[in-house]
Symmetry: C2
Subunit: 102 residues, 2 copies
Amino acid sequence: MMSNHELDEMIKALAHPVRRDILDWLKQPEQYFADQEHPLSFGVCAGKIDQKTGLSQSTVSNHLAILQRAGFISSKKVGQWNFFSRNEVVIQAFLTRLQQQL
Amino acid sequence: MMSNHELDEMIKALAHPVRRDILDWLKQPEQYFADQEHPLSFGVCAGKIDQKTGLSQSTVSNHLAILQRAGFISSKKVGQWNFFSRNEVVIQAFLTRLQQQL
DNA sequence: TCGATTAATCGCGATATAAAGATATATGCC
DNA sequence: GGCATATATCTTTATATCGCGATTAATCGA
């Protein structure tokens, strides 16, 4: 069971439309990031997410860090790239917890 | 189905621990507000919620307004008092929507 | 080693949110 | 009417969040 503080971080992480968009895009990488040169099995490259949002690199990097601190996504560094993917288990646990809490 | 904007308001409404506390207290008024003079069937009186949070009257009034705009609670004015209660249907719809979205 | 690429971090200005006190409004009681 | 109570609204101050450009750090290729 996650702590109240962790739950707080998770809800705050979702309280921004761009971060919810990112989570949504990562649900179907092959649909939203079909043009990625690297295998999508690594996850989605940070730069591709930057492009898709239209926001600056630093802004998106921060959004990704917030999602990662909340536990919703993980990153895997390969060479000079950083690939992000969803943590389905954590997302499900969050939904279950929210259902009990609310 | 609620709009994206409504979903945004709902998540933001939850992104504050005091507002989640209030929703929680309203789940079992008889447990948390047993000392209320008025029937709990009206809902819980704003002033009682003020007391329980320990925050100022104006601050709590604002929190209640945010929860109400999000649709999570309703108010019923009786005399000089305003009674708040949960909208279980909306809360369930929110959870369902979040489950689809995430 | 040098230059290019990727992405995290830092610093700043702008905007949003939170909290409180003061005020306004409405109701109830005498 | 006059005063008390309950609560929303307004104003101000403080803090948090957002977004950007610049910098830094790491990796890669020539």
